[in-house]
Amino acid sequence: MREITYLEAIREAMTQEMERDERVFMIGEDIGEYGGAFQVSYGMLEQFGPERILDVPITELALTGAAVGAALIGMRPIAEIMFMDFTTLASEQLVNQAAKLRFMFGGKATVPMVLRTPSGSGTGAAEHHSQSLENWFTHIPGLKVVQPSTPYDAKGLLVSSIRDNNAVVFVEHKLLYKTKGPVPEELYTIPLGQADIKREGKDLTIIATAVMVQRSLQAAEELAKEGIDVEVVDPRTLRPLDKDTLINSVKKTGKVLIVHEAVKTSGIGGEFAAVIAESEAFGYLEAPIMRLAGEEIPIPYNRMLEYHAVPQVENIIEKARDLAQLKV
């Protein structure tokens, strides 16, 4: 199969959906001539024109609300927030409005919109351009939260997100944009709420999200050389969460390490751990549930400090090795 990058996969999903369904349009800052801060929408202005690629000045709250409003009367907007840090500005319309309109109006409204935004550190962009806030939105009934880790998943999940009749927060990762992988040229969907086992193993489960999936797969290769057979599970959608796949994997391996980039306290890993602890997998656990996540600090500027602020491959190897060897 042809290989393209994660960002090309996202662009292709949007382009093909816009070709197929004229209700779909984009709104965001610098998404036109500039092509988006990360070039995700590059070329789309030429193809679709300014009527469907709405380039706006710095107006996170208004552009998000504009997407909510358009969705409310049957359009299917894709709003881009340039950095996930600025979803703090967009969140009123997203959290109070988009998430609640359907329920509040007795099921008589739908808000079929997507809010795409890149999260994550590793580019030296420091405190205001590096956060991972996905778990904020998982706390909101009415929102769906998607976080792809491969080009294949990015395309299939974005197409599903656009076609979904709810507000979907689609969390991309800056360090994944240039990563390549096989992606079918035709349109396909990956259902929201379906986890994927990225690597099968029998000794230990790693549940990881976004760029940590790739780091965990690298760690698993190293650990395989030591005879430790790691299973890597990517939930892909954080809300709704595919609990069964997580639970079944832990029942099989008896040990679980949860890895994410967002700060550990109140991160999504706590939810994964609770789901496992509350389930029948509890009886299969051979060791405590472990978490490896972002340090309890904002993301610093300095390269070395930034590197150590979030889990790296060597940290995952070490933690997973300890857990594999742990006898309780």
Partner: protein
């Protein structure tokens, strides 16, 4: 507006230091010595120096992401500033903040900001505090034309008027917010109108004319110090370089950039001081050399400075 020989020397030196700092920043970046991004203010030197030249050392500024020039104009230690740009342990922010977050709180610089319009609401609060403290101090709050489209700007204008804060809001209109052409929704005169609409004086200046900027801001500073409340000044200017390191300049033409280079604020100022016989060609050249030498020394200082220790990673989140 008349200035003394000493003032001419000081302002020219600061403008050259800014130009040299930005050129050095770009060089260091290209040489792979900098991890991160940067926003250069080449072409906007008169806006920074002209505005801040009106302050007393005890006054404050609060800035935006394109803040190197503002920081230098507020009298920052160039070594500590360059060290921060390099992410070093002895930089202004201990290597935590970098280019987009340089602050010198003790020196009255309340910091650059990575969030567009992020400093404007805080400026209102600084103004409220300054008013309560009754020491006659004022704040210059800088932001870009892009920030003037954000809700935070408009809400802040209303509070600033309501509380009559001693703040001068300074919009550095460099014509673009990344690729967004600001003239698609407003020009400098219209942004200045916002001030009047909200109930404060609003003026726009030729932001490449240091003396014109200085005169407008001086008036606004006196107005604030006298207890008459906030003002809005819009400095019309241009950034010569791309928005940040990753800009392909697809949204503007080379002719437009060249036209603005013809209006170089430093050249313009040297022409005035020559005409007024404040400085000679030789003196100007000496000052230029001094500016570049200061930055070269800062570069050497920064490169010789230590990296932060990883053991300190978790420090500094909470005050004791």
């Amino acid at each position: 507006m008349k200035i003394t020989k000493q003032q001419a020397e000081d302002y020219l030196l600061q403008m050259y230091q800014i130009r040299a700092f930005e050129e050095q920043a770009e060089k260091s970046y290209m040489a792979g010595k900098i991890h991160g991004t940067m926003h250069l203010s080449i072409g906007m030197e008169a806006s920074a120096v002209g505005s801040i030249s009106t302050l007393e050392p005890t006054d404050f500024i609060i800035g935006h992401h394109r803040g190197h020039g503002l920081t230098i104009a507020k009298g920052a230690d160039l070594n500590l500033m360059m060290a921060e740009f390099y992410g070093k342990a002895n930089g202004y922010c201990r290597g935590r903040g970098g280019s987009m977050h340089i602050a010198d709180v003790e020196g009255g610089n309340l910091g650059a900001n990575g969030v567009v319009a992020g400093g404007i609401p805080m400026a209102v609060g600084v103004g409220i505090g300054l008013k309560m403290q009754k020491e006659g101090r004022v704040l210059l709050a800088f932001f870009g034309d892009g920030a003037a489209s954000a809700g935070a700007f408009h809400e802040s204008m209303i509070l600033a008027v309501l509380f009559q804060v001693p703040v001068v809001f300074i919009c550095e209109n460099n014509q673009y917010a990344m690729s967004f052409r600001t003239s698609d929704w407003a020009d400098s005169a219209k942004i200045a109108e916002f001030g009047k609409l909200y109930g404060m004086p609003g003026t726009s200046t030729n932001g490449n004319n240091l003396l014109e900027v200085r005169e407008a801001v001086q008036k606004a500073v006196e107005h604030a110090r006298a207890g008459n409340g906030p003002s809005l000044v819009v400095n019309d200017t241009y950034r010569w370089r791309g928005h940040s390191k990753s800009d392909r300049n697809r949204y503007r033409t080379q002719e437009e950039i060249d036209e603005w280079k013809e209006k170089d604020p430093i050249v313009r100022f040297t022409e005035v001081v020559l005409k007024e016989k404040l400085l000679t060609e030789e003196e100007i050249e000496k000052i230029r050399e001094q500016g570049y030498a200061d930055i070269e020394a800062a570069r050497a200082f920064a490169e010789a400075s230590p990296e932060p220790e990883v053991a300190t990673l978790l420090e500094g989140v909470y005050a004791p």
